[in-house]
């Protein structure tokens, strides 16, 4: 798949045409909504309390709508004027600001209860102009992000890293700015459904909730390790064990798998 961040810088790539296409595409809307729901879950906000959130790379406000549904107030920043114009036309509740995250967030300290960012961070690493020192931009961004969060707040980024080096670079820059936390990958075994989150924390030790779907890795091996002849095979277990393992593998890839029953892995009866 071609990567849009290689084609042009974000303020030029997301022109009026591209912004309109982006906001009308039902598949993009669905993915954005799901990712934002998941990011919100990872933020671990206090329940039934409306919070003030920052949406970095808010675009046309698709992710902002999810935040509104959960009763939060949000402020969004984006670098693409065309995207923000669409957000205004759609009358989203949050306020939007035209700003470049690589130049530092234009907020005073300790304001936000959390930050979400849906598929935006990879644009920060795009070096369109040799004058932009990547490392400097990352440092400026993460330190200004750290400053505008209140103590104990989290920032969750969903993004598409180009390779492991990029992910490591982002993690080390965040660490340098004072964040703890790190990557969290949903559906790690699937190329298509794989989603990378960078979960950054400003203080304290907390746990990460595991996605309900990704969690479904039931272990069925162990109890009845018998092979076809009814004897125990130390490597593969019984025929049923082998099938169950394979089904689990497919479930982890988010593929359609038939439900398990007592007939799973049995031979068909002969007439």
């Amino acid at each position: 798949m071609s990567r849009p961040e290689h084609l042009a810088p974000p303020d030029i790539f997301y022109n009026e045409d591209e912004a309109r296409k982006y906001t009308c595409n039902s598949r993009i809307i669905e993915i954005q909504t799901k990712m934002c729901e998941r990011a919100l879950e990872l933020l671990l906000l206090p329940e039934n309390e409306s919070c003030l959130l920052l949406d970095i790379g808010c675009g046309s406000g698709l992710s902002g709508e999810v935040l509104e549904e959960h009763g939060h107030t949000w402020i969004g920043i984006d670098i693409s004027r065309a995207m923000l114009d669409i957000a205004k036309k759609r009358e989203v509740e949050g306020d939007v600001i035209l700003s470049d995250m690589g130049q530092g967030l234009p907020f005073r300290a300790g304001q936000f209860d959390g930050v979400v960012s849906i598929s935006a961070l990879q644009w920060l690493c795009n070096l369109d102009n040799s004058k932009h020192g990547l490392r400097k931009r990352l440092d400026v961004f993460f330190s200004s992000l750290f400053a505008c969060l209140r103590n104990g707040a989290r920032a969750v980024f969903q993004f598409y890293p180009e390779n492991d080096d990029q992910l490591n670079l982002l993690e080390s820059a965040a660490c340098k700015a004072g964040f703890s936390g790190g990557r969290m990958i949903d559906f790690p075994n699937s190329k298509k459904a794989r989603k990378v989150f960078l979960v950054l924390m400003t203080g304290g030790v907390t746990t990460v909730p595991v996605d309900s779907l990704a969690q479904q890795s039931r272990c069925t091996v162990g109890k009845n390790m018998k092979n076809k002849n009814g004897k125990k095979d130390p490597l593969r277990g019984t025929r049923r064990d082998w099938i169950m393992k394979k089904k689990d593998r497919f479930r982890n890839k988010n593929k359609e798998v038939k439900a398990d029953s007592k007939y799973t892995g049995r031979k068909r009866s002969r007439f």
Binding site: T73, I75, S99, R108, V140
Partner: protein, 124 residues
């Protein structure tokens, strides 16, 4: 741009600017839209905002209403006060105007309600 956003915006990313707060508003076009009132959120946000900055901004835009000069005690139960703050923070919106950095005098234009905080290469 709502006054809640104005209350947080700072121009400290500019080279040579230390505080960059509060940004001065110069408004040419202001509109009022109705937003759902959420007393818990307003009560939670009041300790975080800079109240004097809000008062000054609301005064300038002519929407100060019955806002008192200081935050009264027992904010949570004072629904009238919360409603006033709600109106000033979330319902008053600057559609066209400028934000001016108090230190360098750099202007950030607001068009169609979107403040443009982009900086030039040499200003970072």
């Amino acid at each position: 741009m709502k006054l809640l956003t104005h209350n947080m915006l700072s121009s400290k990313s500019l080279k040579g600017v230390v505080v960059g707060y509060p940004l001065k508003i110069e408004a040419y076009d202001v509109k009022v839209t109705e937003v759902e009132f959420n007393p818990e959120f307003i009560a939670k946000v009041i300790p975080k905002i800079d109240y004097s900055v809000l008062i000054r901004a609301a005064e300038y835009l002519g929407h100060v209403g019955k806002l008192p000069g200081h935050v009264p005690e027992n904010v949570e139960k004072n629904t009238d006060f919360l409603k006033e703050v709600h109106h000033a923070l979330l319902e008053v919106e600057v559609v066209k105007g400028d934000l001016v950095c108090p230190e360098s005098g750099r202007r950030f234009p607001i068009t169609d309600g979107i403040p443009n905080m982009l900086l030039n290469e040499d200003e970072v």
